[in-house]
């Protein structure tokens, strides 16, 4: 699903050069639930941004679902983001003046789907996160946990191959955090690959595999689970 080889990312200013990622190698197989951990400034967020095609990388290779993303223009990257990636952010990033239905609709609009198809997907996604009855409500009328569920519904509505979650429980109390993690586990069990960046050891422990990043490099690849089925084995990077 995701293969990064010798990836590097250098931030340059006229005064200083910062190596956020260096010789970064990671393979995430189809259907995996990977937690990415590491201290502040280790490069977790840079990794997630590059994985999500939100930032360019300086060197190395990155293949997403067998697509070599190097050299893709903005349109192609945007299309790839829209079709293959779902994002879940720590701050939920819902648009405050759109109701839940319209918030979940945002990625589908850029997909160019017909109105009826969008409606079906939105209702399905909101049902899946348990908020179908509140689709005309606005984000401010929901709790933090509910807002994060809407963000998950928004990610799911596009039927992505991979979910990238950046501290998805970081702004939630433990009860809500547990609910969100259960939802992510359920989504993963249904076949969606999840990469989750977190500081918190508790959600990290629920992932199949932990990847630890220090100084822009992967230091630990322990905990890889057995593949679920033969199909995954075929598409997994080897």
């Amino acid at each position: 699903m995701l293969v990064m080889r010798s990836l590097s990312k250098v931030y340059r200013t006229h005064l200083v050069e910062t190596h956020a990622l260096r010789d970064f190698n990671l393979t995430v197989r189809d259907g995996e639930f990977v937690a990415v951990t590491g201290p502040s400034g280790s490069g977790k967020t840079t990794f997630l941004n590059i994985a999500g095609l939100l930032e360019e990388f300086t060197g190395g290779e990155y293949h997403l679902d067998s697509v070599d993303v190097r050299g893709l223009d903005d349109n192609a990257r945007s299309r790839l983001r829209n079709e293959k990636i779902g994002f879940i952010f720590q701050g939920f990033n819902l648009i405050p003046d759109l109701n839940l239905f319209d918030n979940v609709d945002v990625p589908l609009r850029y997909r160019g789907l017909k109105s009826a198809e969008r409606k079906k997907r939105i209702e399905h996604a909101l049902t899946r996160v348990g908020l179908a009855s509140r689709m005309r409500h606005y984000p401010a009328e929901l709790s933090g946990g509910q807002q994060q569920r809407v963000a998950i519904a928004r990610a799911l509505a596009g039927e992505p191959k991979i979910l990238l979650a950046d501290e998805p429980t970081g702004n939630l109390d433990s009860l809500m955090a547990r609910g969100v993690m259960e939802l992510l586990e359920e989504i993963n069990q249904q076949g969606t690959t999840i990469i989750m960046v977190t500081h918190d050891p508790e959600p990290a422990a629920r992932a199949h595999r932990n990847v630890h990043i220090i100084d822009g490099q992967v230091t630990d690849l322990a905990g890889a689970p057995p593949l679920r089925n033969a199909t995954e084995a075929l598409v997994a990077n080897g």
Partner: protein, 441 residues
Amino acid sequence: MLGYYFWLAARSLRRNAILTALMIAAIALGIGASMTSLTVLRAMSGNPLAHKDDVVRRPQVDNWAPARGWNQNDPNDLPNLFTYQDAKAFYDAQKAKYQAIMFPNVLSVEPANREVKPYMATVLFTHGDMFPMFDIPFLHGGGWSKAQDDGNARVAVLSRATSEKLFGAEDPIGRTVRLGGEDFAVVGVMNYWDPRPHFYEVSSGGFQTAEEIYLPFNLGIERELNSSANNNCWQDPGQGYEAWLASDCVWLAYWLELESASDADEYKAFIDAYVTEQKKLGRFPRPLNNQFHTVSSWLEGQRVVSRDVRTQAWMSAAFLIVCLINTIGLLLAKFMARASEIGLRRAVGASKRQIFAQYLTEAGVVGVAGALIGLVVTAGGLAGLRLLYGEDGGATGLLARLDTTMVIVTALVAIAASIAAGLYPTWRACGITPATQLKSN
């Protein structure tokens, strides 16, 4: 997607109504001020004979004083009227397709209809060639012939308003009208002809209304009239009308229409030859400097549009720019406040081009609203000018009217201006790095 962008724009603009109102007001005021000035400038700058600009001509010759030119500050600014003898010489030569000498005056009108009181009407004494030369439209009848000119026929062409005043809605051709104590046969009624500027006689201003009655030129001479507009002399013309006609006083307008534009050089050579000949007779003491204007160069040379009007237009254009800069600032603030939303949209699949289109649509909606209100402000500004100057009190009041073209121009300028104002904020919005915004939210 365009429908989605409009929907988002409407929501966004409703969300912050005060900011939206400020942006629309800035555009509307800028548009209103600039289009008000531009409307007046455009009306003043018009060329009623633009379609014949290459063939309808106005000669100018310099018969002024040897020591002191017509305009001491500009040797190329020549007398803007003709002497009788020069105009008549040009007319008599019949070198052009059409030619006409003209001057305005007033005559008393004694209506046959006793319900209409006698009144003084403005009259243009002219040759019959003027009607086809100036493409004057007729409601009834037409102009008069050269034979009628030469025979001093008592014929008259009436403006439509005069015809309706004297004869009501009926066709008056064949009826007589009593002017200055004499009967004239009505041969034609014009169908609303009132060119702006009043290009053919600008010596007393370029924006008076067209005359009410048109009579053969020779009848004005027969009545020993001079111009009610301007009569200028650089030396004493002497006593009596014969002396007046033989003098170097200028008071007549002379226009001609060439068969084709290629005849211009030949006609100019004719004028030069005439003036050279006259020099031998002791006239035209100043250097040979004849001019042969088109209608447009004539209007330009006569400064029909005053410098004040041009300055006013530039000032209001500058005001529009200030308003647009204000709008740019407001749009920038509005768009940048939505940086996290832009970041989110980019993350879920919007390309830079789509973000650009979305925000430019929003700027366009502001522009359309600004255009509509700007039109109202423009109409209000023009109404104010009419009130201030009076519709009969001067060119500005007379011309301060919004026509269809200016309505369209105003709307297009407003939309173009707001899109121009929206370009920079939109470009900045597109440049937002999604990763930064998503993390910082």
